[in-house]
Structure formats: C-alpha cells, structure tokens
Amino acid sequence: MKVTFYGTRGSLATPGRATERYGGNTSCVLVRGEEGSALVLDAGTGIRAAGADLSRELQRVDILLTHLHMDHIQGLGFFGPLYNPRMEVHIWGPASATATLDARLSRYLSPPLFPVLLRDLPCRLELHHVPCGEIKIGPFSVVAESVCHPGPTVGYRLSDGGAVLTYIPDHEPALGARHFPEDPEWTSGWELARGADLLVHDAQYTREEYPSHLGWGHSSLHDALAFGALAGVRRLALFHHDPTRDDHSVSAAAEAAVAEARPSFSVTPAAEGESFVLPAPR
C-alpha cells in the first residue's frame, strides 16, 4: 500500500511560508492499494487536494473518519468525488449514543455552515457506523476501535495482507495513567497499533506543554514515542502538529524527543506530500 499525507496539522489549518515543509492542512491521509483502490483517512482541509489527485477511472472511494471534530471534517464538502454522480462514496465514522453518523455530519453539511445538504450530494453516498468489527474494503482489511479522545473517536488499523498501517491521529493514551506506558492490555489503542509497519500518531505537544493540556485528547511527543515502543511498531510518523508550531519548531521538538527516548524504530514528523510504501524493505 502507498500512504500519502495530505494534511498533518492538528486543530486548525495553518497555511503560510512558516509551515511549508510539514504543511498547514488539517488531517487527511490517502491510502492507495492494488488496482487503484483508495481509502481516505479523515476529511480535514487536506482532503480537497486528495480528491483532486484520485484517478478519474475510480468508481468507489471510502472515507474513514476517526471522529467529527472540525479539523477532521472541515474539508468534506470540498471533496470532489462527492459531486460525481457516477462515484460511489462510503463514509465510515462513529455515531454517538444519541445521534447517527448521518445526523452528526448533517450538523456541518447544512446551512448556515454549508450550502449543500448531505442528502443532496450527487454521488451515490453510503454511511456506515464504526466500530463494527473487521470490515473488508477492496484489498484492505480494516479494524476500527474506540480510543481515548473526547467524544466518540476511533483509530484504524489497515492491512492489505502484506503490511499494516495504524492511524490514530487524535489520542491521549496517557490520560490518567500514573506511569505511562504500563500494561499493554490496559492501554488505549495498543491492539490497533501492535506490530504496525507504520503508526501515524498524535504528537501535538511537547512534554512541557502537555500538563497544561491534560484531557484535551492529545499526546506529547514523548508519549507518542513510548506508545510506539509499547506497540512494537516499525516506524512512527508524528502527526497532528500543533498549529502554533512552525517548521523549525516541529523539527526541533521531534529531534529533542527522539534524542532523549532513543527509540528502536524509525521516527519522522509527518509532512504534507510525503509518501510511504508499505511494507518498507527490511
């Protein structure tokens, strides 16, 4: 599978020269499989460009939403395939205890926030609730599980038989833990990430910033590295960069955390436009 970042920023889009390297668009990752199949992870502002890059031959695309915070759905209405009547679009995401995915998404995709109603989109649209056990989408096996973040939120584990990608962009597994990380059995997201070839994981804060953002649903870089080690991943892409951070400070924060933690796996801050082909050569 080929994994391409179209949006790596957390919370708020941050365009401009200061964020050229890692990008200013909010969460969106395009995963391509065999025979041109495509999955889109989250619908942040990066999804507009992801939609434009999809093959015109494609007849079906699946969007896997982790949750419905604005930075993960803001680009949805600008995803070109939604306006193609020949296109089959499947949106997967969590319901809440009181509202369906349809009802929750319609709060955004309706006036006054957006001019086009979800039900009026020209594509053939189908909505699905997760978690719902293992699902098969084209060549991919997909597992969604609830993870620690305010409101209904899932992470995804994608496998094409040869490689595993785990995507947990908003995640605070250290919340309430006295000594993180402790027991894998009692760690949010561990099973999703176990042995992944690539883990894309929340790393919004520095260790110094984290205490003043406790419970906001995000991880420090150090906790992201510790989580990756606990799960035994092969590679970690630090994701959901804080909007206050420019390219220089994203690099500096990652380098400092890696120098201290000395992980046994490869670590890189996720950069818009960057691709990974999985599995990587061993």
Binding site: P94, A95, S96, A97, H129, P131, E145, S146, V147, C148, P152, L175, G176, A177, R178, P184, E185, W186, T187, S188, W190, E191
Partner: protein
C-alpha cells in the same frame, strides 16, 4: 493477550485517581482491577493478585448481613448491575481476606459501551464508620 475495551480502561484510570474504594468487574463478575483504597478494604494487593475470577473472589471476601448470614449472590449490587444492567446500592458486612470485618455501603453501576453492550460494572464501597 487482548486489549480491554476503552470504557474499561478509562474507568480503571479514573479509579486509580480516586480515594473511593472501587472494584472493576468484567461482564461475568471476574474482578479485573481494584484500586489502592479497595486494597485496604478487602485485604489484598492488586499487584500481588492481579485479576481475580468470580469464583476465586467468592472464597477470598465474604459478604454477609448484620447477623452473619451470607448475602445471596443475586442480591448483591454487583450482580444486579451485571444481571439487570441497573445501578444498585445496599449495606452489608464484609469480611476481608485479612480477616477484618467491616460494615460497608456498596454502590454498583453497569458499564455500557458507547455502541451498546455490557462491558462490566464498577463497584464502589463506603465503610460505614469511615469517611
């Protein structure tokens, strides 16, 4: 080893941060976790016992009425929380693993997943003459 459901993980983390004795049970009544205040109450240390099966727990802690008669399993708050998926509260006497006998109030509530389904129960204890 499988990972526990998020709702159980968060309940355990909450319990770890509270001074109220809390026992976290799975859907069949196995004890998955108990916090430090509960350790003092039931006379065991989680670090030493780890999870305890429902059958094993029965032999370690005795729950009785004021006359010393065992409280039928189905009448206990934990059984009501798990069996009927309703909160329950009652008073009883507890003889802990270390032999200490205490009068306690017990509140149990079911843990129902976001997507529905019973995950277990949280059981909280208050010592009658304690705080």
């Amino acid at each position: 080893m499988a990972q526990q459901a998020l709702e159980l993980i968060l309940t355990r983390q909450l319990a770890s941060c509270l001074s109220v004795p809390i026992v976290l049970m799975g859907p069949t009544g196995d004890i998955l976790f108990y916090n430090e205040p509960a350790e003092a109450l039931i006379g065991l240390r989680f670090q030493e016992t780890g999870p305890i099966t429902a059958g094993d727990a029965e032999g370690r802690v005795r729950l009785t009425d004021e006359h010393g008669s065992a409280i039928p399993r189905g009448d206990r708050p934990s059984a009501i929380a798990l069996g009927r998926q309703r909160p329950a509260h009652s008073q009883m006497w507890m003889t802990a693993a270390d032999g200490a006998r205490r009068q306690v109030e017990v509140t149990a509530f079911p843990l129902l997943a976001q997507a529905g389904g019973l995950l277990g129960a949280a059981v909280m204890f208050w010592e009658r003459d304690g705080r």
